[in-house]
């Protein structure tokens, strides 16, 4: 309600001085400063972020773009990540706009910039080869991809090392005598899902473990698809003795199906997930999984973006973080055919 000129009048200074006080300009006599401060308090003045944004050409808000909002939000993992992003933004005084990548304006991601709604974006769940990223890069709009990867020159990426996750589990299971190891993929239009599958195929091959199309089930991240994955693997002869699910959600669906079909886990089949969502400690058996360094991921994304918005054309960052295994009760030793 009150503006700088209102404060200025009350404090008997020009509104310019008020502006200086508000922005902590050191060259204001401390006496004047105090007078202005008091006027500010009295009128309950707060700087109008819109006017400031118009002038400074910075909105102090970033966009968090979620590609498949309905889906992605149903993942407890993602929700937590959002929490950590918000938290990491606070010290930088940035706010966060949440937008669904699809619907909004026919999906043109640059619009948020052109309309001056945001200074930068974090994109979650980006599709593989999404053509819209190109436009972001060409315009040099500060962007960071989370849990995805891109070769575009001006797009930074922060991801977990999907390859080492999968390799760890294959080694872990192989060390327990498993050779036929099935794999449940996430939604393969998402790079993250694709990389995990790729890592699986490459490393199974490298280790000389059997592998073929029937050992891969294409899920979509949901418990439901994990359930179906079990049905699929259960029909196979020989049945895989272990299964890697690309996330915990699907692993939980798998567990349910196994229980219904009286296939005991881990005695008859071993199972691992990825994410370490809260629920995974409450399943029967408790799920062995991979904990994502969420907080580190979130702050890396934020710091990278803040850096990119800083002005000077830094080269795009490519940050890869390591996950940490959480060994619980869902894996056993191969018990012979």
């Amino acid at each position: 309600m009150a503006s700088q000129s209102d404060v200025a009048k009350l404090a008997n200074v020009s509104f310019m001085t008020v502006s200086r006080v508000v922005n902590g300009d050191p060259r204001v006599k401390s006496e004047t400063r105090e007078r202005v401060q008091r006027a500010i308090e009295e009128l309950g003045y707060y700087p109008n972020s819109i006017a400031r944004a118009l002038n400074r050409q910075r909105t102090m808000t970033i966009g968090l773009i979620l590609q498949k909002l309905d889906f992605v939000l149903s993942e407890p993992y993602i929700s937590h990540l959002i929490y950590h992003i918000e938290k990491a933004l606070i010290p930088h005084d940035y706010d966060m706009l949440i937008v669904s990548g699809e619907r909004r304006n026919g999906g043109d991601l640059t619009l948020l910039f052109k309309q001056k709604k945001v200074d930068g974006v974090i994109i979650l769940g980006s599709q593989i080869g999404d053509p819209r990223l190109q436009a972001l890069s060409e315009n040099r709009y500060p962007s960071v991809l989370l849990h995805a990867h891109s070769d575009l020159p001006c797009i930074s990426c922060v991801d977990v090392n999907n390859y080492s996750i999968i390799e760890y589990f294959i080694d872990y299971l192989a060390a327990r005598g498993h050779r036929r190891i099935g794999f449940i993929s996430g939604d393969l239009s998402v790079l993250n899902a694709y990389q995990r599958l790729d890592a699986y195929e490459a490393y199974m091959m490298k280790r000389g473990l059997p592998f073929g199309k029937e050992l891969v089930f294409r899920g979509n991240w949901s418990s439901g698809s994990g359930f179906e994955a079990f049905l699929h693997f259960n029909e196979l002869r020989p049945r895989p003795s272990a299964v890697i699910a690309s996330n915990d959600h699907m692993a939980i669906g798998f567990l349910k199906a196994a229980y219904e079909h009286q296939v005991r886990i881990p005695e008859e089949m071993s199972l691992v997930g990825i994410d370490d969502i809260e629920m995974s400690a409450f399943t029967t058996p408790k799920l062995t999984t991979m904990r994502q360094p969420m907080q580190t991921i979130a702050s890396a994304a934020v710091e990278t973006l803040i850096g990119a918005m800083g002005g000077k054309d830094k080269p795009a960052a490519r940050i890869v973080l390591e996950a940490e295994p959480v060994i619980r009760d869902s894996c056993g030793f191969f018990s012979g055919a």
Copy 2:
């Protein structure tokens, strides 16, 4: 990058005409309009929302305030709700800022308004008697509480009918012969949790069913607290033969604990949850629960808020929606002591 004057120059009109075209003012010659349109396309012009906001005194963004962001986001139910809110906002051309209620600016909710960051707020997970709501109401800042309730004159509320949910379940369980029915509450600083407990106590009394302090376990919405709830009830003599959990998350923790202690559900104990999260169809046994009309809740909140931001001082709305039971496998008949 391009502004209205750039377009104006290219189209040989004044920037005012451009403004008219952009805003669909009908009194522009269609020939001129087309010329301007072409210039707009050519330059890739988009209206600067900041400048527009400064002028119109409306930001076209609302704030979604989450009280305990970490916690609340870990609920799949909440995540879905956010999705539906975003969706409901789109036709109104509103964007959504997500902010955590606590940290941000020492928790002053009016700041978002004073800084002109938002035109209105939706508050999720509001604490009981939160003093900060008062300030919102006094300043007549458009606000709606979701899953909470307030008597403040200028604060609208949208909630599900917690009383009918609880009463339904008590009737349902009583009809199956249960008399000792335990209750797991949510975080009681949240009104929603409190109402459910209140409903439980009131209706148990009304129906003449036994009820006492030991039949209530104070949870905090998390699976972990559901787990502990089982431990508590399992010690009681006589043990309750049925338990109502205030959300599915806790019910799932309860299930896990029961399994570990070889107490069969539903044979030895019945259990119900609230929310109908996806996972609840994948537990063993599948959980009987209450489906929230999420989409209706979300659009009611959005429409109410849009209305309140419309200008004319409408009275605050108080909307109460009904949930719908989802009967699955977690309840049985009382089998004698």
